[in-house]
Symmetry: C3
Subunit: 359 residues, 3 copies
Amino acid sequence: MPHTIRDLAAALGAEAAGNLDLIIARAAEPQAAGPQDLALATSPAYAEGLAKGQARAALLWPGADWQGLGLEAAIFAPRSRLAMAGLSRMLDAGPEIAQGVHALTDIHPTAVIGEGASIAAFVVIGRGVTIGPRARIASHVSVSEGATIGCDALLMQGVKIGSHVTIGDRFIGQPGCVIGGDGFSFVTPEKSGVEEIRATLGQREEIREQAWTRIHSLGAVTLGDDVEVGANATIDKGTIRDTIIGRGTKIDNLVHLGHNVQVGEDCLICGQVGVAGSTRIGNRVVLAGQCGVSDNIFVGDDVIAGGSTKIFTNVPAGRVILGNPAVKMETQVEINKALRRLPRLAATVAELQKTVSKL
Amino acid sequence: MPHTIRDLAAALGAEAAGNLDLIIARAAEPQAAGPQDLALATSPAYAEGLAKGQARAALLWPGADWQGLGLEAAIFAPRSRLAMAGLSRMLDAGPEIAQGVHALTDIHPTAVIGEGASIAAFVVIGRGVTIGPRARIASHVSVSEGATIGCDALLMQGVKIGSHVTIGDRFIGQPGCVIGGDGFSFVTPEKSGVEEIRATLGQREEIREQAWTRIHSLGAVTLGDDVEVGANATIDKGTIRDTIIGRGTKIDNLVHLGHNVQVGEDCLICGQVGVAGSTRIGNRVVLAGQCGVSDNIFVGDDVIAGGSTKIFTNVPAGRVILGNPAVKMETQVEINKALRRLPRLAATVAELQKTVSKL
Amino acid sequence: MPHTIRDLAAALGAEAAGNLDLIIARAAEPQAAGPQDLALATSPAYAEGLAKGQARAALLWPGADWQGLGLEAAIFAPRSRLAMAGLSRMLDAGPEIAQGVHALTDIHPTAVIGEGASIAAFVVIGRGVTIGPRARIASHVSVSEGATIGCDALLMQGVKIGSHVTIGDRFIGQPGCVIGGDGFSFVTPEKSGVEEIRATLGQREEIREQAWTRIHSLGAVTLGDDVEVGANATIDKGTIRDTIIGRGTKIDNLVHLGHNVQVGEDCLICGQVGVAGSTRIGNRVVLAGQCGVSDNIFVGDDVIAGGSTKIFTNVPAGRVILGNPAVKMETQVEINKALRRLPRLAATVAELQKTVSKL
């Protein structure tokens, strides 16, 4: 997707200098940049790399001496990651999916596909499905009966959308994600050991044989606008009502969201996070990689949880947490320091005991 | 799947009252229930919701005044989750897969498919496969050569059954699960660093370059009757004998069970649990979400492990455990309390040291 | 794949005795071995099992009295797991994929497929793809535009190779793995809460609403020779340059490797490990199951991390680590011992305080 420096700068709302008609085909790291690449040199640390590469133009830090760096043109980025977002969108050609519907597909005659859709080979679309305009649907995708997807959807290879799932506009599904598997919900005829120990925190009276009866998922999943779901992530259907993910929330690879979970708007749910059934997550919550959240609890707005934080109880809005079990991040940092010295502390106490007993 | 109140109550073995001929099409939360829905109001807390909704019938707590709640009919549930299991089964229409075999499939002529099967588009079934009566196989499923699946199987979209896998009756495979990938088993020509530190708990004599040679998986996987496997979960083949999952065991999304693992009957293995190679898990074991179990150990019958418990050593039958590394749940609860006070404890000990040294 | 004892021993470089012309079809555990199986009895502990089974030949420990064990032939294995690697390779028939290209495929006319390839039903291969000789590609695989795969590749069911991914020789992709999904990279217009707490370790000045703008992945993924990737594992594309996995590295099921990650050569990345964006992992690193590695850090050569180790900071070469957060394994073992006694330690300190205050 080639663009002039002028067009790129205008799209980014950024200042530019030099030959604004220079045409850029790709972005590249400074030392690897060729003559048609825009080198990404967003801090002075990259100046050396620029000298090694062959870039004629670069994305530079504000105030950089682009001529001194041997460039013909430059764009200046006050907030470089934000500029990267705009640049990468413009330079991304997107997946190659031919316009129209491939012959080797299985699309139910009642399905309504919006204008301008591209549907690749071996796609299956069920009865009564509605898909908005300009959808791009890669190979091996299935969209089951009664599902609805908004406009400008991008469903990558092997995405599986379950029956009666509702998805907003501009959805992106990475390869292999599953939206709308059945919830994991089972019950025993009598009170199970799990129910018992939840009440007693670990005590069991009598251990009985128990087999599991399935609770079917009659609900589905509802995703708001601008949601993205990562590769091989899974979001289960609700039992009665839908599992709900709010507008603008981004979900990474291999995340698991259980039945009846509610996630608010503009959250970031990073790789391999798991959220158990019926838990509610507020707006703008960030769960770093491998976090776990127990079932039936509430995580307030604007909570940020560091990597591998395990959340067993409600978390008030705005809290920054870390650890297993989760505590305030600053507390966990203190605990971690003390933990490293714990064997020494134990030895000190043993010494003290001896000394004191002599006294 | 509409039913009368009479039929629903009979199927649940529950008492009912009022107009038993009322027809119910769906279940709903009380406040969202329409006139053809059965409102699920299994405790007095839901009475307010009932008043807001339009339900004419409800599943109620024992002794509820259904007429006072403005209902025409009611079913009474002494154990509400168990009633939900029965209700949800009756009201679940199940996935829409047309009877018979879709034209766009690749089914080996030697494969034997039982009576009444429904096989969707783009399904692949290999040489010598046997699938029992009434199987429902959704799109993009593959069942490889020599595999055997019992009666009433439900294989959702993109399920992958490996060669020579054996599966019992009433199997449910959620979308994208993989039963029978190869085990992760590699060996170095000389003793590897991993073997060394296992013996020494962390000490290494000399670090040598080492490359990994693959041990192929010659075994397969055997699943008992009534097993369910979650979306994108993976169960690996055994090296020589089969990896084995017992009757009635339920496995959640994104679970990983390594080669040669043996899991007993009626277990619950929750989301994102991982069990490393050659470990044995007893009967009725519950591993909550994100638990991890080391290789070559044994977890006894009726063990319950709380969320994110990491199990490195054998666990005796009946124990309730929590934490990383796993200890008795009640011990972990005490440790967690003490941990939060650990920085203070360290300060106290430092004070004591000063005081005692003065004495 | 039947072989004589002579051929098996020669291929393993091992000594053999007895009837070297005996033909072996499979390997088996001693007690389960039939007359055409090679019983795997690599230590004296298996002698009893041998007596129960019907094996006529066995893989035995050095110096074993094969005749006394009632066998007709034996192979002697000084390092039994290494012998298993050779044996299992010879006895593995491999997946059944018919030679040539199945009719129900969608292969772009510009794609170049090497000689001797086997391509199963419902495979999709994009524009400009190059696949080396003797590739075996199972059903439902997709290889997107511009990807390159070396010789002797084995792509199991539903493997998804993203656009412009480069893969070396002898690649093995287990079912459902995704190489080349988009990176999880988002930015807010102003500094986000995540950026703030990284600097302050938990303090936030003011909480603002924030929405996420996507940074597209313009890079791809490069895998060296002899890489294996596990079932449903995911490796994301880089933002500008490629995510890189070195020669000989083996990756297990459900592993997540983020954008821009670099993994060295001959590493073992076990089940459910997650590595966040832009982190570099050295050569011969072993990460046991469920390890997590933060973004933008460096893990040195020959590091070994025990199960569920969570790595938040750089790790020097050769270190053996354990725990959350990661410390030296021997330190963690000490910490774990002290942790179990922590409630008692707290009580002891309280006692001491009383005693000392009396003094």
